[in-house]
């Protein structure tokens, strides 16, 4: 549905985006993740046809946004970072105008505007001037504008920025609903948002794609060999050696110590689940087992490791992304 091929964009001497490629299938919600200034907005602006790329191309529903801009734009809904509202217009008038320039047939306009307002929960401000709206409403009117012509593709640039927690949850739910019938690309730097709403993530840093995968795969790939966290109580001095001697355990280190309670980090071989042995050993010795859980790298940590240092993992991930 969306295909981006080797996109490059220079602003004078500055390279904003360098050889970015990815695809999004119909009905998919794709998260676009990266620190500020990574090139998210630039990439989105190119896909929406707002600006042409220096090199490479973007296809929306099979139409090249540069060669057949009108066909591509007819199928694209775009919510820019700053919702594009006319301060003097009322919300209703604004959406009617948007419906008109987006080619919604005359007879359907009023009805379409009404259903979209209901869907984005802005019907109560229909007669209010855009200039007088709160940030949350502005964002939702912007979203309504993007949805009006029922586009195949939705490009949302930080759709939850500036919303309060309740609105964020509502907006995420709406976006999830929209996936399935629309293809959604959403950019954000809020990581839980990605794991909650997106099926796939493109991580971009300094204008380059560093990883493309599902949130789960990203987590497990970077995990490498698994490690467990175990917290035990009232154990003997030989505890560390005992744990180390369990088959499959490759290393034990103390990570936390609170009085008689000690938390160990247990590194295990990649393909072995030693949780049962670990638990029965501890309990068998008469120690108190307080906690046992796999240590997952959170998306935050993955994100940081991908965008701050050039470790081996991101390179592998990036290579996998190109396949």
């Amino acid at each position: 549905m969306i295909e981006v091929q080797h996109l490059t964009k220079h602003y004078g001497p500055v390279t904003a985006v360098q050889d970015v490629s990815f695809k999004a299938e119909r009905g998919e919600i794709l998260g676009f993740l990266g620190p500020n200034g990574a090139g998210k907005t630039t990439t989105m602006r190119i896909i929406t046809g707002y600006m042409p790329p220096t090199d490479g191309k973007a296809l929306v529903a099979g139409y090249d946004v540069l060669e057949q801009p009108l066909e591509a734009k007819r199928r694209t809904g775009y919510l820019p970072e700053m919702p594009p509202l006319y301060p003097d217009m009322t919300v209703g008038d604004y959406l009617m105008f948007c419906a008109r320039i987006k080619g919604v047939p005359r007879g359907e306009r009023a009805n379409r505007v009404k259903t979209t307002m209901d869907r984005t929960r802005i019907a109560d401000v229909a007669t209010r001037q855009c200039a007088k709206l709160s940030k949350g409403y502005r964002q939702r009117v912007g979203l309504a504008q993007a949805l009006l012509h029922n586009p195949d593709v939705l490009i949302l640039d930080e759709p939850t920025a500036g919303l309060d927690p309740k609105q964020i949850i509502e907006t995420r739910r709406l976006i999830k609903e929209l996936g399935g019938e629309h293809t959604v690309i959403l950019s954000t730097h809020i990581l839980p948002e990605v794991s909650q709403t997106c099926q796939r993530v493109v991580i971009i840093n300094k204008g380059r794609v560093v990883a493309v995968d599902t949130p789960e795969n990203l987590t497990s790939r970077l995990q490498g060999a698994g490690s467990l966290y175990i917290e035990v109580d009232s154990m003997g001095a030989e505890a560390k050696d005992t744990l180390s001697s369990i088959p499959g355990v490759t290393g034990v280190s103390v990570s936390e110590r609170r009085g008689s309670t000690i938390g160990y980090e247990v590194a295990t071989a990649a393909d072995r689940d030693v949780r049962r042995e670990l638990a029965s050993t501890v309990v068998g010795r008469g120690w108190g087992l307080l906690e046992l859980r796999p240590m997952r790298m959170s998306l935050e940590e993955i994100f940081l490791s991908l965008t701050t240092e050039e470790t081996e993992a991101p390179t592998a991930a990036a290579e996998a992304a190109h396949e």
Binding site: K9, Y11, G12, A16, T42, R45, T48, G49, Y50, M51, P52, P69, L70, E71, K73, R74, T76, Y78, P80, M82, P83, P84, L85, Y86, P87, D88, M89, D93, F97, C98, R100, I101, K102, G103, Q145
Partner: protein, 256 residues
């Protein structure tokens, strides 16, 4: 065409939703009305004096001695007022981010420009509409020839179109409305005065300067003559201005 009208309608709506339209039309009506009153009083005294001279004195002509100067004066007022109409056309869209809405909607740059141009012309035409009232008053007390009045309006519309095209271009070059209004005003003044030094120049440069003068081409219209030469000048001026605006919007896109 529907897209052009959608933009035109939106432009007119935002002129009239903001104070701009009322300030521009209201102040124009005030200033123009005052001048009109003064001109009529002056013309009245002139007629009395001529009548006092008795038989054989040259008769006064209301078209030449009242209506023409009034139109010429209104042209000068337009020089000052029109930059305020065009100043926000593009600047405001860029500043508020609505440019992204327009440029990502399934409409062409040309449709956006034409829509904005027609919207500005619509507001300008309603300003001209105010002066129709004054002209109608003259028919109540006298019988002016109607042809020069009609051609004067046509000429003023065409000249205003040129100013709008320049104003759109300048507005598309900046985000700042103050810069837009001041630069537009300066360019209008230059277009108005450009042939004032013509008489001191060689015949060739004289011809060139006279041809460039945007107001010089209005003279024949004021005299009641529609000369194709002037119509072509105005229309090509407008087309060129809108073309440059389209290029300027495009450049903005590439630069990002």
């Amino acid at each position: 065409m529907n897209n052009i009208l959608a933009i035109t309608y939106k432009e007119l709506k935002s002129y009239f939703a903001s104070p701009i339209a009322y300030v521009v039309i209201g102040l124009y009506a005030l200033v123009y009305g005052y001048y009109f009153y003064a001109a009529v009083r002056f013309f009245e005294r002139q007629s009395m004096q001529m009548a006092g001279l008795g038989v054989g004195a040259p008769s006064v002509n209301i078209n030449e001695q009242l209506i023409r100067p009034v139109f010429q004066y209104s042209m000068v007022v337009f020089l000052i007022v029109l930059p305020m109409i065009t100043m926000r056309t593009y600047s405001e869209e860029k500043r508020s981010g609505t440019m992204e809405l327009l440029l990502t909607a399934p409409i062409t740059d040309f449709q956006i420009i034409m829509g904005k141009f027609l919207g500005a012309m619509g507001l300008y035409a309603s300003m001209l509409g105010v002066t129709v009232v004054h002209m109608a008053l003259l028919y109540w007390v006298s019988t002016p020839e109607w042809m020069p009045i009609v051609t004067s309006y046509l000429g003023l519309l065409l000249m205003g179109g040129c100013f709008m095209a320049v104003g759109l271009l300048i507005s598309s070059l900046t985000k700042n409305q103050i810069v837009a209004v001041v630069a537009t005003f300066a360019v209008f003044m230059m277009l108005w005065m450009i042939n004032w030094i013509a008489q001191f120049m060689s015949p060739t440069s004289q011809a060139v300067l006279n041809y460039l003068s945007i107001t010089g081409h209005l003279e024949d219209f004021m005299g009641g003559v529609i000369d194709t030469k002037h119509v072509v000048y105005y229309l090509s001026f407008i087309a060129f201005g809108l073309f440059l605006t389209a290029r300027s919007v495009d450049v903005e896109r590439w630069r990002g």
